[in-house]
Amino acid sequence: MSAAGRPGAGWWLLILPAFLLLVVFYLAPIVQVLAISVTEPEFGLENYERLLTSSAVQRVIFTTLRICIITTALALLLGYAIAYAITLASPRARGWWILAVLVPLWISVLVRAFAWVTLLRRQGLVNNTLMEAGLIGEPLPLVWNEFGIVVGMVHYMVPFAVLPMLSSMREIDPRLLAAARGLGASRGEVFRRVFLPLSLPGVIASGVLVFIFSLGFYITPAILGGGKTLMVAEWISLQILDLIRWGLGTMMATVLVVAILVTLAVFSRIVDLRRIFGAGA
């Protein structure tokens, strides 16, 4: 029975600045990208034909999909372990676990990529240590390849994977777990039969979030891929900045946006999108 009130025009005016800024300086540039993809070099779907004909374009797409799927799977596994530990931790330990997730989340992606380069390059700390210990004779190729990209991307994505899973695990009534053990289930059975099914919505939400973030990821793959393994975002940048092929670049950008929106649309039927983005802040 609480009154909805009668919002006057004044309240709409409050929304106006943000709305105009987003339409004029966000939506318009993006719509322009979509428009260029069918108008340059000439009007038509010529750019999109490349999706079917150009093996270079197809290779970039497949590389991106492969890396994204591997990244998502690994980020979910590691993120699940952390979220699980946080959910079951004592209140004091919980604070430290959460810190271990939040601090990397907010530290510059550049700093993190730089740290990985320092560790993984030929004369990096990992290779040097292993060689001094006599474990290897030649430096291992740990970076400037797909392996390096995956290491860096998973590192970036784990915190994003943790947050939605954590919020869904927190909704699980701890008495259920105690009750299941009381009824004679082993720890493994409690996890498989009770905890895992109840936390599944969070896992799906995290999976969607990590996958769509990975698809358009630029900085980490560009630094750790060393220009040899190209993902979609870096390929787009290459088309625009170096090859001045606006048609191809914007075509791939459009494909990227469509792929992300389709993924969201498909999964919004299974899982509440608010669960994905509500926990993101």
């Binding site: 909805a4 919002p7 004044g10 309240w11 709409w12 929304i15 600045p17 943000a18 709305f19 800024l21 987003l22 339409v23 300086f25 966000y26 540039p29 993006i30 322009q32 990208v33 372990a81 952390i82 079951l88 676990w97 271990a100 601090v103 990397p104 907010w106 530290i107 510059s108 992606v109 550049l110 700093v111 993190r112 730089f114 740290a115 560790l119 390059r121 700390l125 590192h155 784990v158 701890p174 053990r181 720890r187 493994g188 996890f191 769509i212 358009g216 990821f217 630029y218 900085i219 630094i223 787009i236 940048s237 625009i240 900045l241 914007t250 950008a253 969201l264 983005f277 509500g278 802040a281």
Partner: protein, 262 residues
């Protein structure tokens, strides 16, 4: 959960390994920054602050830090003003009517920056905003709005709508209600949003790669060039400074939240 149910050894081991994987690589830059060598390595004969000195004496690094800072401050003001007003408006007007605005607010979080960056590259050309302070502020400010909307909306969700009714019922106008009742109550949420919007701009690279080139050369842009061209310990010193700065901001955020809860 008083000892009723704990993870097994595998789960616990994996969680610890993951936590180390998340934190250790970041910490590795600290000893590297303190190295006494001239190349990227661990300290050999002792610790040295020379690379910090190099950075703090370099007009290029200092210029970029200053530029990034002023851009982030201006962008944050833009995000906070527009985002706070928008969150309050959406909160007060019914859900359904503002659904479109809410979806619009999510777009900058969903759509990859690379797509927006190439769009801006073309869009800003005719407007004369390429390689301009204002251009970068607009780009960062607009994409920072969602962070503010989310944190302020969270604060508003905990705000008792009867306080607003009480104020209006006692004769307060919209602007009086905003200034004296709503804003003081949601101030912690606004500060939180401001911190996130600031970090967003301060760290942002992809847009800057496209819409700035010489006159605007932000800190992330300089680090990017450094990583791609010459990997030296000064980079590690910059990384350490950045980490410290981010930690400071996060601690400020936590302290504010704790105070508003207490």
């Amino acid at each position: 959960m008083d000892g009723a149910y704990r993870p097994g050894p595998f789960g616990r081991g994996l969680a610890w390994a993951t936590a180390l994987y998340l934190v250790l690589p970041i910490l590795i830059v600290v000893p590297v920054a303190l190295t006494d060598q001239r190349y990227l390595s661990l300290p050999e004969d002792g610790l040295s602050l020379r690379h910090f000195e190099t950075v703090l004496a370099s007009p290029e690094w200092l210029g970029s830090i200053w530029q990034s800072f002023t851009i982030a401050v201006a962008a944050t003001m833009l995000s906070v003003t527009a985002g706070t007003l928008c969150a309050i408006g959406c909160w007060r007007i019914s859900r359904r009517a503002t659904e479109f605005v809410r979806v619009l607010m999510l777009l900058p979080l969903i759509i990859p920056s690379i797509v927006y960056a190439i769009g801006l590259y073309r869009y800003f050309g005719p407007l004369g905003l390429l390689d301009r302070f204002l251009g970068v502020v607009l780009a960062h400010g607009v994409t920072g709005i969602p962070y503010v909307v989310i944190t302020v909306s969270t604060a508003l969700a905990a705000f008792d709508p009867r306080l607003e009714q009480a104020a209006r019922g006692m004769g307060a106008s919209l602007s009086q209600t905003l200034r004296w009742v709503i804003l003081p109550r949601i101030a912690p949420g606004i500060f939180s949003g401001a911190i996130f919007a600031f970090i967003h701009s301060w760290d942002e690279l992809v847009m800057v790669l496209f819409i700035a080139s010489r006159d605007v050369f932000t800190l992330p842009r300089r680090i990017w060039d450094g990583i791609n061209e010459n990997l030296d310990p000064a980079m590690a010193a910059v990384a350490v400074l950045l980490i410290l700065f981010t930690l400071l901001l996060l601690m400020a955020d936590r302290a504010l939240r704790r105070r508003s809860e207490g």
